[in-house]
Symmetry: C2
Subunit: 625 residues, 2 copies
C-alpha cells in the first residue's frame, strides 16, 4: 500500500509497520525523543485521507485527534493514505543552534596567543630515488629524509606499511605525510603520493546529551567553514545520561548507543562534506568534546560504573583513537582526540568550556556554568578550579517539555507579557517564521514575566481566572504563550515545575561551591554562562526566576555553546590541547549528590526567585511594584 | 557423482572440477608444488575404477599411465570413481624436519647467558577498590597501581578501554596484564580478570620459501613443547620468491599469497594447541623468522620492488604487529615480532641463523651458510659481518627435483654405492619406512658417490652402459637410486644439473665474499652450515661435490634449521632480540647479481668438484684411486 505526503512524495508502506518507521526507512526523519514509545508526543502527523490504526493518542489533545492528528510511532496504515507532516515534527539537521560567526571564533583563537598547530601536520617530502649504491629500504629512506629535514623520530604504524612501496613510487618519490606529533615523536596517520599539503580540514564535534554539533574548520587559517547540528539520536534510549547507561548496561544496548552517536556524527560530516564538495581525504583531524558519559558512548567504553556509587568512569583521559576503529566515515586513519574529563559528572565539555572562556588564565575569581542537559558549575581562577554537577535535566534544551524545542528556526526565544492586558509578545528565531515551540531562553522569559505579572505565584502555580490564557489543559493548568492556527504553544504546570526544579538545582550548586571554597557571591568577578538557550539569554529574567544570583548585570557574560568553541580551539592548537589537559588535571570535583547541605539549598530554591528573598533585593523590589 | 577412496572414505564430486580441488574441499590435501598447473607431477593418484577425463599426462611415465596413475589436478570424474592416493602424494603436517631436541635448544639458550624475558610479560595486580573518597577512573587506578609497583609508564592502546570497567570488576579488582616493554614503557597487549600468570606460551615460526616450521614454547622455562611443519602452500604461486612476487604484483595475487602463509601458520598452531589441549589465551607472543620476501608476504607488505633493480624492500626492520591485524588465530592482541632483515636477499632467517650459531660473538673469522630455497652466506666475526645471496634454487629441499622431497619420513637421506658392483645402499628417514623420495643430504651423497664410482663424469653427465641403474628415462638419462615396488626413485640428468648449478652458485659465493673481504679459505676458523638437508649432512661428500671448500673436517659444523633456532631464542629473550637487531644493523650486504667476478666463479664451479681441481687436493687424490 502507498503513503502519499501532501508534498506529493509517495512511499510504500506496510500494515503493522509504524508510519514513523516507514518514513525513516525512506530517509524522512521525524522528531521523536522517546524513540517511538508513544510517550514524547513529538512525531505528530496529520492524516488527510485513508484509514489508519492507532495504538495510542495519549499525547494528543481531543481537538488534535478530531483534526486528524496522530502519533506516527503509534499509527500504521490500513490502506493507502495521504498524510501531512507538520513543521514542528520534522527533524532537520540544517538548523544552527547558535550561528557561531567565524570572525568571532577567529578572534577568540587569536586572543589565546596560540599558533595554528593542529592535531596532524602535513609534510611534503621529495625522497632521493634508490640505486644499487643506495639500496636502503623504503622505510629507512623515509626515516632518513625526515631526519635530514630535522623531523627527528617517526613511528610508522604497522597498517601503513602494506602500501608504502607503491605510494612512494607513484609520484616519482614525492609524498605527503600526514602525521601527529606525540611524545617527542611523529606518528604517521596517512601517506599520500605527491604534494597534498592543502587543503586540510579539521572537524570539531560537541556531543551534547540532547544535541550534537559539528564544525568544519579550515586548518590553514582557522576559518570556520560551516556548522551542522542534530538532535542526539541516543534520545530514543532516554533523555538523560542515567537512563541511557541503564539501557546500555541492563538491556545490552551499548553497541546501539555507540552506533547511534557515530551515525549522527557521520550524518553531519556527510552533509558538510557534500555541501562544500570536499575530498574526504582532506579531513585530517577530529576533536570531540562532550560529557564523560557521552565520550564513553562515543568511544565505545563501558559506562556502567558511572551511574553507581562511587561513580567511576573507565577513564578521564583517553588515548588518541582513529576514525576507522570508531566507525567515523572519513579516512580510517584520521586521529580522533577526545577531550579529557574530570569525573563522571564533570566531563570534557566543561573542560572545553573553561578553556573557551579562559577563566583558568584569570587571577580574579570567576564562575563558569554550563546549562545543557545537566548543569555543571566551575569556580576558580588561574590558581585553582573546583567543579560540581547538579542534575538540572534537559528542560532548557526543550526535552521533556510539552512544546519545548531547541533554539532553531521557529522557536520562541523571547517573551514579554503586558502586565495590564496579559497580552503576550513573542520573539521567534528565523525571519517571518511562525512559532512552532519554545526554547530555553523563551521559557525563562515567560516564567519570569508570568511571575512578575502575577500569573504565576512564588510556588510556581498558575493563577486561574486572571487571564483566558490560563486554562485547563490535558496536563492540568497551562499558560498559552502563543495562540497558533493549528496548535497553541503552552507552558503547562508540569513544564513550569520542571524549570523550577532545574533552576533550584543550579542555584544550589552555586551556593555550595562558594561555601565549600569559603567565598560568597560578592567575591565573584565574572559569571560565564554557557548552554543551548538560544542566541541570547536575558540575565535580568534569569535573576528574577532565581536561576542566576542577583549580581550586577555586567558580571554576567552569556557565551553560547562553549563546549564546541573549546573543541574548535583544540582543533587548531596543540598548546591549547595541552591547556585542556592541564585544566582537567587541576580541576577538583565536588560530589554534590551525597551532600546534605546541597539538598537543603535545593529545597530552598524551589520558589521564585528563592525562599531567601533577601538574597534577591532587586527582585523583591520589583515584585512590590 | 561420488568419489570413493580405497580407504573407504566417500566424497561428492562434480564433472569439470579437478579431483585435486574436490579432495581439497573435503580437507584432503595432496602435495602440489605447481598449484594445480600440471607441471610438478606431484599430485599423483591411482584410478582403480570408474571413468575420468585427464587433460594432461605430461608428468607421468607410460608405465604409470598404464597402471592407472593420473594427475589429480588435471583429472576430473565422468562418473562414480574409486581412487587410491599413494603415500608420496599425501601432504602431511606431522612430519618433523629436524627433530629439534628441547634439551639441545635449552642448552643453546643457556649458553647465551640471557635470562628468560619474552616479548610479553604477565603482571598480576590487586587494585584497591574505589570509594567516594578515592574516585579516580579505572584507567588512572591501573596506572597508579603500576607506578606503585615500580612499573613506570604504561600505554593502554585504545582497543583495551572498551571492556576495562568490566574486567577490573570481574574478579574483585584482581587483574593480570599481559604487556610488552617497549621504549622504556609498558604497552598492554591483554587484560584478564583474576590471576592468569601461568601458563604462558610462545610461538616461534620459521617461514621458509619451501617449508614452514612452528615451535610451541613454554615461556616459564624455555622448554620446547612441540614442533609442527608443513610445505609452504605459497608453492602453488611458484617455487621461488621471484615467481611469487611476479604473481603477487602482476596477477594481483598479493592477498592470496599473504593468506596462504597465514593459513599455513594457523593450521600448524591449531594442531599444536589441540594436541596439547591448550587455552588459546595462554599463547602470548609470536616471533617470526624468514627471508625478506617471506616476511613481506607474511605481513602483507608489497614486495614488488624486491625483484627489480635496485632490489628495494618496503622495510628491513618491522614495527611490532599483532595477531588480529594479520589474521593469526590466537588472541587478536598477541604481539608478533618479525625478525629484522638486511636487504632484499639477505633476510631475517640469516640474521636469526647468525644469532643461533653465535658467530657475531666470536673473534675468529667464521662463515655461516644457509642452504634453503636460496643460498645465503655470511662472513665475519664480532667486529664485522658481510653477507651475500646466491640463487641456489630450492633443489636441496626437494622442490623442482623429480623425486625430491623434504627430509621427512620416507626420504632417502644417505646413499652409498659399491664401486665394484654399483649396488646402492640407502638410509631412509623413519623406522622400517619404505623410501618415497630423496632429500638434500641424500642427493649430495648420491652425486658424490656416483662421481667417485665413475657413474657420473666431472661435467655431471651420466655414463651409459656402466650399470643397469643408468637408463633412459622420460627426461633423458637417469640413475636409479632405489628400485621400488610401485615406482623407482631416480636422479635424472636435469636433477643432477640442478644440483650442480646450485652448488656452483654457493661455492662462488664463498669465494667472492672472501676475496672482497681480503681473506682466503685458510683464514676461516669455522664454517657453520644451516639448511633443511635432513638430520645429517655428510661434509666429506659435500666437499667431493664441490659444494663446500676443502678444509679440515673439524672446521665444519652442521646446524640444521638455524632460522627457527634463532626465532626460538628471540621468543625467550629481549636481550637476544636486541642482539638480532644489532646483527641486522651491522651486516653489510654485497650484491652478487651485478658482479662479473661472481659469474666467472660460478661458471668455474659447474664441474665436480670444480674447474680448479687444485683447490680440492683431497678430492683429486680420491679420484686417482
Amino acid at each position: 500500500m502507498n503513503l502519499t505526503l501532501t508534498s506529493g512524495k509517495k512511499i510504500k508502506v506496510k500494515q503493522g509497520v509504524s508510519i514513523l518507521e516507514s518514513l525513516k526507512r525512506h530517509g524522512i526523519f521525524l522528531t521523536s525523543s522517546c524513540g517511538g514509545k508513544g510517550t514524547c508526543g513529538k512525531c505528530k502527523i496529520i492524516v488527510r485521507s485513508g484509514d489508519v490504526e492507532s495504538r495510542s493518542h495519549i499525547k494528543l489533545s481531543r481537538k488534535e485527534v478530531h483534526e486528524g492528528y496522530a502519533l506516527a510511532c503509534m499509527t500504521s496504515p490500513v490502506g493507502d493514505i495521504l498524510i501531512d507532516i507538520p513543521k514542528e515534527s520534522t527533524l532537520t539537521v540544517e538548523g544552527k543552534i547558535v550561528t557561531s560567526k567565524s570572525k568571532d571564533l577567529l578572534a577568540l583563537f587569536h586572543s589565546t596567543g596560540a599558533d595554528i598547530d593542529p592535531l596532524s601536520e602535513r609534510i611534503v617530502l621529495k625522497l632521493p630515488a634508490p640505486s644499487l649504491d643506495d639500496n636502503i629500504s623504503d622505510l629507512e629512506r623515509l626515516k632518513k629524509e625526515l631526519f635530514a629535514n630535522g623531523l627527528g623520530c617517526l613511528r610508522v604504524p604497522f597498517r601503513f606499511m602494506s602500501n608504502l612501496a607503491r605510494t612512494v613510487r607513484e609520484k616519482n618519490w614525492e609524498i605527503t605525510l600526514s602525521a601527529i606529533h606525540s611524545e617527542d615523536c611523529y606518528e604517521i596517520i596517512n601517506i599520500f603520493p605527491g604534494d597534498r599539503k592543502i587543503p586540510q580540514y579539521g572537524i570539531a564535534v560537541d556531543i551534547g546529551t540532547t544535541t550534537i554539533v559539528v564544525y568544519l574548520i579550515d586548518l590553514s587559517d582557522g576559518h570556520l567553514i560551516d556548522v551542522a547540528s542534530i538532535y542526539n539520536s541516543q534520545i530514543r534510549f532516554g533523555d538523560d545520561v542515567i537512563t541511557r547507561i541503564v539501557n546500555a548496561t541492563e538491556n545490552k544496548e551499548m553497541g546501539d548507543l555507540h552506533r547511534a552517536v557515530i551515525s549522527d556524527i557521520n550524518e553531519l560530516i556527510t552533509i558538510l562534506i557534500s555541501n562544500h564538495k570536499l575530498d574526504i581525504d582532506s579531513i585530517d583531524s577530529i576533536v570531540v568534546s562532550g560529557n564523560t558519559t557521552m565520550i564513553h558512548f562515543f568511544l565505545g567504553l563501558d559506562p556502567s560504573a558511572i551511574r553507581e556509587e562511587p561513580y567511576i568512569p573507565t577513564a578521564n583521559t583517553f588515548p588518541l583513537s582513529h576514525a576507522g576503529e570508531l566507525g567515523i566515515k572519513v579516512n580510517r586513519n584520521v586521529p580522533v582526540y577526545s577531550f579529557p574529563c574530570v569525573a563522571s559528572y564533570v566531563g570534557g565539555d566543561i573542560v572545553s568550556g573553561v578553556l573557551a572562556v579562559g577563566m583558568n588564565k584569570k587571577e580574579e575569581l570567576s564562575i563558569f556554568i554550563d546549562i545543557g542537559t545537566n548543569g555543571e558549575i566551575v569556580l576558580g581562577n588561574s590558581e585553582w578550579l573546583v567543579a560540581a554537577a547538579c542534575s538540572a535535566g534537559p528542560c532548557f534544551e526543550g526535552s521533556g517539555m510539552k512544546h519545548g524545542m531547541r533554539a532553531t528556526d521557529g522557536a520562541i526565544e523571547g517573551v514579554k507579557i503586558n502586565p495590564g492586558t496579559f497580552e503576550v509578545e513573542v520573539k521567534v528565531i528565523g525571519d517571518d517564521t511562525k512559532p512552532t515551540g519554545i526554547c530555553g531562553s523563551g521559557m525563562i522569559d515567560a516564567i519570569a514575566e508570568m511571575f512578575l505579572t502575577g500569573i504565576l505565584n512564588q510556588k510556581g502555580k498558575l493563577q486561574k481566572n486572571i487571564s483566558d490564557r490560563v486554562r485547563e489543559g490535558e496536563d492540568g493548568l497551562e499558560f498559552v504563550v502563543f495562540f497558533g492556527e493549528s496548535r497553541d504553544i503552552v507552558l503547562a504546570e508540569p513544564d513550569i515545575e520542571n524549570i523550577i526544579r532545574a533552576k533550584a538545582a543550579i542555584y544550589a550548586g552555586f551556593s555550595i561551591l562558594l561555601k565549600e571554597a569559603g567565598f560568597t557571591f560578592d567575591d565573584v568577578h565574572k559569571v560565564y554562562i554557557a548552554g543551548g538557550f538560544g542566541k541570547f539569554l536575558d540575565i535580568e529574567k534569569s535573576i528574577i526566576l532565581g536561576l542566576l544570583p542577583e549580581l550586577p548585570k555586567d558580571k554576567f557574560e552569556y557565551m553560547g555553546n562553549t563546549s564546541i568553541a573549546g573543541a574548535y580551539l583544540c582543533t587548531l592548537s596543540r598548546k591549547l590541547r595541552g591547556e585542556a589537559e592541564e585544566i582537567s588535571r587541576k580541576m577538583t570535583y565536588l560530589e554534590l549528590s551525597v551532600s546534605r547541605s546541597f539538598m537543603d539549598e535545593y529545597v530552598s530554591g524551589l520558589f521564585i526567585p528563592h525562599t531567601n528573598i533577601e538574597a534577591f533585593p532587586g527582585v523583591k523590589e520589583l515584585t512590590k511594584k
